[in-house]
Assembly symmetry: C2
Homo-oligomer: 181 residues x 2
């Protein structure tokens, strides 16, 4: 039940159309809650039906026309409720770790190449996060909102740092291992 709340957050930051939301998800909220445009349009429809958001008045609400939404008071209230409500962390699911565990049984043949690829992807993501940090959070910006957003970004940076370190270490171990099959 998080996508609607991700959308409400994005719309409170700035009223947008479905496509604008999709783009903004791709380079911000989507870093920790990704969504396709199909999901977003579907969810916008539901949120409007529930009276949490409404379409901004537009001349021609036809196909191929932009339709922007803004959050209604009920939507803001729902988001506040959801944010404050206790939620259990949901169980991890990590394919790469699963594959390593499988490799302990069926052999490591072919795995190292993909570990290297993942390492490269995580490095790139890390660089992107650092760039955002440099650009959006220069020292001195410490209004509460900036602090919270910076905190979220720090989580992203530290997580990517962890993965690059772990993958580097894993590849070192692999180098010492006989390439079993």
């Amino acid at each position: 039940m998080s996508l609607p709340h991700a959308i409400l957050t994005a719309l409170l930051e700035k009223p947008s159309s479905g496509l604008e939301l999709t783009r903004r998800f791709d380079k911000s909220i989507g870093y920790f809650w990704s969504a396709t445009h199909q999901q977003i349009y579907r969810e916008l429809g539901k949120l409007e039906a529930e009276g949490l958001i409404r379409a901004l008045p537009a001349e021609q609400p036809a196909r191929g026309q932009k339709k922007s939404y803004e959050v209604l008071p009920a939507g803001r209230a729902e988001l506040a409720r959801w944010t404050a409500a206790a939620q259990d962390p949901k169980p991890q699911r990590d394919v790469l770790l699963l594959r390593l565990r499988a490799a302990a049984v069926v052999g490591t043949a072919g795995l190292a190449a993909d570990l290297r690829r993942h390492l490269e992807l995580h490095r790139r993501q890390l660089a992107e996060y650092r760039e955002i940090e440099r650009r959006d959070f220069p020292p001195g910006r410490d209004a509460p909102q900036d602090r919270l957003r910076h905190l979220v970004l720090r989580a992203g940076i530290d997580l990517e740092t962890f993965w690059t370190q772990w993958l580097t270490h894993a590849l070192e171990e692999f180098a010492e291992l006989p390439d079993t099959d």
Copy 2:
């Protein structure tokens, strides 16, 4: 498409019945690929139909009777294929980070309590991992299989370490923030 491979891995480590698998998932593979017993039974049925595993001969294959499975050669081959195949890391989804981002917009009221709860949960998980490490990976155990499994466990330990640190830091920030609403 990972659950079947998680099950194949578990069954290769040791042939088991559905319930035994469920229990083992809860305290081992489930740490990074959780599954309910309903999922497991369903998947066992599919895997058997596909000829990747088979039920071990039992007297009464009736309800309420244990039914154990073992992996067939085709199953092992499929697991090896899957392990070696390149796979993109799938996009992150983290509710807690989303809630923090939402809090930047609708206020932090009520959030700190749940952060504390999460911190406690992560601390407990970390302690559990450390205990497993102490018990199962004493210095000197370095057959390839042990190394790989230890590597996976290290990922778990380091991830939980990251979360406890990040949450601690987040709570410190919260303490300085005005409790907006």
